[in-house]
Amino acid sequence: MRAIPSANREPRPGAASPVPLIATRAVAKHYGAVRALVGVDFVLAPGEVVGLVGHNGAGKSTLMNVLAGTVQRSSGAFCYDGAEIGAWGAREAQACGLRCIFQELSLCANLSATENTRIIHASLRGLGWRRRARALITAALDDIFPGHGIDPDRKVAELAIGERQMVEIARAFTQTSVPVRGVILDEPTSALGHTPTEQLLAHIRKAAADGIACILITHRLNEILAVSDRVTVMMDGAAVADRPAAGLTRSDLVAMMGSIEAHGGTGRAIGPAADGAIVVDHPGRDGADRPICVRRGEIIGFAGLDGHGQRDRLRAIYAATSDVPVAYVAGDRGAEGVFPLWSIADNLTIRSLKALQRGGFVVPGAARALAEQWAARLKVKAPDVDTPILSLSGGNQQKVLFARALASDAQVVLLDDPMRGVDVGTKQEVYALIRAEADKGRSFVWYTTEMDELSNCGRLYVFREGRVVEEIPGAQINHARILEASFGGAQTGASHG
C-alpha cells in the first residue's frame, strides 16, 4: 500500500545529498531564561536515517518539535527541501510530507485507529472515507508490524500502550495525496515490546531504501547503531558531534555523549537477600498462576513479553500490600506519575508527607531539604527544586518520580518500567542506586521491557498470558532462558535473532 515517492529517491546512506530534505542553521529556542536549544546545525538528506542521541534534557525533543512545526524557533534558519522557510507550523509540515511521532503519544484516545488516521489526512473525507482510512491503517500496520492483531475500529483508549504506539507509528507512514518525505520518531520504542521494536527497526531501513528520511531518537543505543546511517549527538541544547554510524561502537557513542558507561555494574543482588524477612507474599490469581514472594533487600524482576500481565500484577501487589510501606514508580509519567501544576519539590515529597509533618502540617524546611537532597542524588537537571516539573525534559521528570519513591519510607518499591526515556548515564547511576538501596534492606519489584535491565535482578518471574509461568533464580538469568520461558518453551522465537 505504501506508495513510494518517485522523485528524490536517492538511497545513499551516510552521504549528504545535494539538496538536503532538512537543514537548520543556528536554530535556537528559549523558554524565558531556559535555553532549550542554543544554536543547532542539523542536516537530514532524503532517504537518510539519522540517529539522535543525548542526555535527558539535551534538547532532542525540542529540536524535533521545531522541525515538526509544533514549537516555534526563537531564531535561526530552517530550510526544507532546499527552500528557506519562514513561518512553519504543523499544517505546513503535514503538507510537505513531514511526519512526527512525538515523545508523548499523540492519538485521540476516544477515536479508533481508523478515525485517528483520518485526523492526519485532510483528503480522507466524503463518502467511503472510513473504508479508505481503515484500509490505509490496516495496510500500514500489516506492513510494519506483521501479526499485530490490532482491530482498527477499536477505540484507542481500549488498546494497550504498546498497541497505541504501534498505531501511531503506522499512522505516520500512511500516505494519501502528499508523499511522505520524512518521519521523525521521538523515542518510539520506549513503549514497544521486543518484537515490535525489531519490526520497526527493519521498517525504518526499508522506508529509507524507499527514499523516506527518518530521524530516530532513542536511549537504547543498540537501536541507533542498528539502523542509523549517521549519528548526531546533542548536549545542552547544541549538536556536539555528528558521525557516520558505520564502525561506531556502543562505547564510542557513550563517549560522544560525554558519560562513561559504568562497566562491571552488572553484579547481581543475590547474596544477602535470600534469607531476609518476607515483605511481599502475593498469591497467584489461580492454580495456574504462581505466588510471588519478595524478601527484604531483594531485587525481583518481572520478565516476559510486553503486556502479558506484569503491570496488572504490580498493581495488584500495590493494592494488596498494607503491612509494609510500599511505593510505586509509574512508567506512564504523564498519566500516572507527575502532578503537573507542582514544582519538583512538591512532586518529590508528596509520598513522604507523613514523615515530614508535625501535627498535620508539613514542616517546610524538612520538606525542602529532602527534595534538594534527592534531586541532587538523582542529578535532576533543573535550576532549583522550585522549578515546575513540566518544564523538565521527559527523562528528568522520570528521575523526580524515582526520587519520590526512594525518598519515601517505602520498604518495597514497585517499578513499572521506570527507565522509559532515561538516558544511559543516568540509568547506570540509578541502577547503582537501586542496588545500594537494596543493600540497605529495601526490596524492589521491577518490571522492565529492557532485557538488559533484568541483569540487575536477583530473581525473575516470567509472565505469559497474564500469569507467572516460571521463576528464574539469579544464577540462571540469561537471555535465552527468559525468551524460552516467555514463549512457552518449545517455540522459542526464531524471529528473535
Partner: protein
C-alpha cells in the same frame, strides 16, 4: 512582566474600583457603611465558597450544586431543634453542621456508587434535600434564638465580629492547603487521580472529606444566615448556587482541579457584593444590571493571567 499581580488579587482590585465608584456617586460618608455591609454579606459567600472550593479543587468536574438546598435544610433542622431557645444554640450549630456533613457524604456516595458526574448527582440530591426542607415546616420562616441573632450582628468597637471570624476560617483554609497534609493530598488528587493513587493517597477518602467539608460549610452558612436574617426560609439559599461557584473561580481557583485559592474568594465575594451595590446605587435598569454583571465576570476571568499547564 515584573509588575505581575497574583491572579487572586484581581477580585480585590475590581471590588476596590466598584467601591470607589459607589463613593464617588454617593459621597464619602457612605464609604465605611458600604464597605462594612459588603464585608458582612461577603462573609456568607465566603463560607459557602470555601466549601465549594475544596470540592472544585478535588478534580476536574467536581462541583456541588446542592449547596443552596443543604444550607436551607440545615437551617431548618437547626431552627427546629433550637425552637428559639438560647440554651439550644450549641446543639443547633452542631446539628446544622452535622446535617451538612451527612448531605456531603450522600453527595459523594451518589458520585462513586452510581458513577454519576458530580454536577448531576448533586443536582439530584439538591431536589431531595429541598423536599426535606419543605416537609420541615416550609409554610413558615423558622425563627432563630435571640442569642444567635445577636452573635451575627455583634460588633466590637465598630468592627463586625462575623466577617473577622470568617477571615479566621479563610486563614485556616490557606494554611491547610499550603502546609496541611490533607490539603496537599487534596491538591494532588485534583491534579491527577491516578498519580495520586499511586503516590499512596486514598483518593476516595480525600474526595469524601472534600464533599463532607463542603456540606458542613453549607450547614454553617445556613445556621449563621438564619441568625442574621431572621430565620430559616425556603429560598434563603437560592442566591448561593451560582455565587458559590463564581466566587471560587473568580478567586483564582482552577476549575480543572488541583489548585485552590482561599484568599481570592474574599476578593471575588466583595466584588459581587460591591458590584450589586454599585449597580443599585446607579439605579440602572434591571437589564443593564444583568448585562454589566455578566460583562464584569467575563472581564475579570479574561484579564487574570493564568498559569500555563503544559
Amino acid at each position: 512582566m515584573s509588575l505581575r499581580l497574583a491572579p487572586w488579587s484581581y477580585g480585590f482590585l475590581v471590588a476596590l474600583v466598584m467601591w470607589v465608584a459607589t463613593i464617588c456617586y454617593s459621597g464619602t460618608g457612605s464609604a465605611i457603611p458600604t464597605l462594612s455591609s459588603a464585608l458582612v454579606f461577603a462573609a456568607f459567600s465566603v463560607v459557602v465558597g470555601t466549601g465549594q472550593m475544596l470540592v472544585i479543587a478535588s478534580g476536574p468536574g467536581n462541583i456541588d450544586l446542592s449547596m443552596p438546598s443543604v444550607l436551607t435544610l440545615a437551617a431548618y433542622a437547626s431552627m427546629s431543634i433550637m425552637g428559639g431557645s438560647d440554651a439550644m444554640v450549641l446543639p443547633g450549630l452542631l446539628l446544622a453542621v452535622a446535617v451538612g456533613a451527612v448531605a456531603g457524604m450522600l453527595n459523594y456516595l451518589a458520585i462513586t456508587a452510581l458513577r454519576l458526574p458530580p454536577i448531576i448527582a448533586t443536582l439530584a440530591w439538591s431536589f431531595v434535600f429541598q423536599s426535606f426542607a419543605f416537609n420541615l415546616g416550609g409554610e413558615a420562616t423558622l425563627k432563630p434564638p435571640a442569642a444567635l441573632s445577636e452573635f451575627t450582628l455583634w460588633s466590637i468597637g465598630g468592627i463586625r465580629v462575623l466577617p473577622v471570624a470568617v477571615m479566621g476560617l479563610t486563614l485556616l483554609a490557606v494554611l491547610v492547603l499550603k502546609r496541611g497534609v490533607g490539603g496537599r493530598q487534596l491538591l494532588a488528587v485534583g491534579q491527577s487521580e491516578r498519580a495520586a493513587r499511586l503516590a499512596g493517597i486514598s483518593v476516595g477518602r480525600v474526595r469524601l472529606v472534600a464533599y463532607t467539608l463542603c456540606g458542613m460549610s453549607a450547614g454553617l452558612a445556613g445556621f449563621l444566615l438564619s441568625g442574621f436574617s431572621g430565620g430559616a426560609a425556603l429560598n434563603m439559599g437560592d442566591t448561593y448556587l451560582l455565587e458559590s461557584i463564581a466566587v471560587v473561580v473568580l478567586g483564582g481557583t482552577s476549575v480543572a482541579g488541583g489548585q485552590a485559592n482561599a484568599i481570592g474568594i474574599w476578593g471575588a465575594a466583595l466584588f459581587f457584593n460591591l458590584m450589586a451595590t454599585m449597580l443599585n446605587t446607579f439605579q440602572m435598569q434591571a437589564g443593564i444590571r444583568f448585562l454589566l454583571t455578566g460583562a464584569l465576570i467575563i472581564l475579570i476571568v479574561a484579564i487574570v493571567p493564568r498559569p500555563k499547564a503544559g
